[in-house]
Amino acid sequence: MPSDPESNLAIQKLRQFAADAVEDVSAFRDEISVHIRASRLRSVCEFLRDETGLFFKYLSDLTAIDHYPGEPRFETVYHILSFETNQRLRLKVRIPGDDPRVDSMVPVWPSAQAFECEIFDLFGIQFIGHQDLRRILLPEDWEGHPLRKDYPVQGSITRWP
């Protein structure tokens, strides 16, 4: 019997705090996903981290999805964890494909640092306010962003001299 995501304390508190920031809430296999409006991401994350009874102090994972050729093309996905309530929550932010940028969450969770570099490297999403955004896995002069769907799995264009 799947539980109703709206009865979750975190969702109720989040709706009270900023009803306009929540785009939609869904649940799949008892995991709750919340889509957050990109402009309100920072305040929502700070709220979830500091609010009594929630304390989502631990950023488990940060990644992105490319929905090419769909639009909005990208999504960043935040898996956060609260040691106090033993609960996980998934936040998602929709990002347009023509100008992929979103606020950096390093001020909220310092552990986002390397994850954001990885997303910048492999998806080409800019993180506004990230102090040291660089290619972390690929060489600095690498062309393209491999985890984008329009990047081929195998083979590359060879330039003959």
């Binding site: 799949f28 296999r29 994972d61 898996h79 390397a114 990885e118 972390i136 896995l137 799995v153």
Partner: protein
């Protein structure tokens, strides 16, 4: 060299030292750029990516079953833990019920993997700090575990033994005898290592008070596993969010409050003993029954039924050629790997290949705390700190 530290103009001349990627104590191909004032590290940054193989892109081009072989190669010291995390994530997506026997064998083998991984950590960590003999002893014991993995799966390292819905094969007769031998033999061996290190004045001098990371910093920097528990956070996915029937086993979660290299050492050594307790329980209470879930659309049929039933043959053909179609959705499943929280995030669009498969590698997050640990300390402590967070570069670079 792409990653460098710029000299700050107007300041006294400092030495910029590039450590790695071929340095023996960087445990793989980790490169550190250190700014030194005499022997003191002023600033440090890490440079990774030397082992980047694009696993996450490869996942998108393979069916769900084929993806298992990629997971082995990420954390090459704990392949079975990686298999487990991936299988559990896909099984969650498919909503499969795994039979108890398969769950028990999974627990048994992943705990042996944990011991094996910690043995490599202990050996290399000790040899970094100068204790040569521990290294030889640890690898001697690891060989026994490798022997068990080879018995069970045919492979020493790249096992791919856990499959979606259960196990690849029923383990061979007599494998529990080998496990029993290990359970009997290892406690004395752990005492042997501890006798060499735990109260050794050189070891204490090199590890106590070195690389201290506070509880709040550990959480903020995303540390997990023994490194987190060494800083006083009592969090273990096996205990707090049990998977694969870990809730049916009786074990403790070792925790230390000091947050230094020595605390992390103690946590891991205690963990090896706890793992052995779990192995013993799993071995003694191993239930009988099937080793694969009853879900013919998703799980490969066994060879015997393929020879006798046409349905099995059809399902086998479909799973092998096309793959199965999972429901549309996304799941995140995490397990406690030897290095910390290993999470797999799978996004399905209903086709036989995952739309996106991301691996939350514990070492990738743990490495972020390294500059914090070593800044302001001597260069000799850098080696002790790298060893203490137990990074595996295959997993970091993926």
């Amino acid at each position: 060299m792409a990653v460098t530290l710029e000299k700050v103009p107007g300041q006294e001349e400092k030495v910029i030292l590039s450590m790695g990627p071929q340095h023996p104590s960087t445990h793989g191909v980790l490169r550190l750029v250190l700014e030194l004032d005499g022997e003191t590290v002023v600033r440090a940054i890490y440079d990774i990516g030397y082992l980047h193989t694009g696993f996450e892109k490869s996942f998108e081009d393979k069916t769900y079953s084929q993806g298992i072989t990629l997971t082995d190669r990420m954390d090459y010291l704990a392949p079975l833990s990686n298999n487990l995390a991936y299988c559990l994530a896909v099984e969650k997506l498919l909503d499969l019920e795994i039979p108890p026997r398969a769950q028990w064998i999974r627990v048994l083998l992943t705990e042996l993997t944990r011991i094996g991984s910690h043995l490599v950590w202990l050996g290399t960590h000790a040899i970094d700090i100068g204790a040569m003999s521990v290294f030889l002893y640890c690898f001697r014991e690891r060989e026994d575990l490798m022997h068990i993995f080879e018995m069970v799966s045919g492979q020493r390292m790249m096992t791919s033994f856990f499959r979606i819905g259960g196990l690849a094969l029923e383990p061979p007769l007599g494998w529990l005898k080998a496990v029993e031998k290990v359970v009997k033999k290892f406690p004395a061996r752990f005492d042997e290592y501890e006798g060499l290190l735990t109260r050794n004045p050189i070891w204490l001098g090199r590890t106590k008070g070195v690389g201290v990371i506070s509880k709040d910093d550990a959480v903020a920097y995303g540390l997990s596993g023994p490194s987190l528990r060494g800083s006083g956070v009592n969090w273990d996915v096996r205990k707090n969010q049990p998977y694969s029937s870990y809730d049916k086993f009786n074990f403790n979660v070792p925790t230390r409050n000091e947050g230094d290299v020595y605390a992390r050492y103690q946590v891991r050594v205690d963990e090896m003993r706890e793992s052995l307790k779990i192995v013993k329980q799993a071995m003694e209470g191993l239930p009988e029954g099937p080793i694969k879930a009853n879900a013919p659309h998703f799980v490969m049929p066994d060879r015997e039924s393929m020879k006798t039933s046409i349905e099995s043959l059809i399902y086998h053909f479909k799973i092998v050629t096309e793959g199965f179609h999972p429901p549309i959705g996304e799941v995140y499943h995490s397990i406690e790997s030897p290095r910390g929280e290993l999470g797999v995030y799978v996004v399905s669009d209903g086709s036989p290949k995952p739309w996106r498969c991301h691996v939350r590698a514990p070492s990738f997050a743990n490495l972020q705390a390294l500059p914090k640990m070593i800044e302001g300390r001597l260069i000799a402590d850098v080696v002790a700190c790298i060893g203490s967070i137990d990074v595996v570069l295959g997993e970091i670079d993926r």
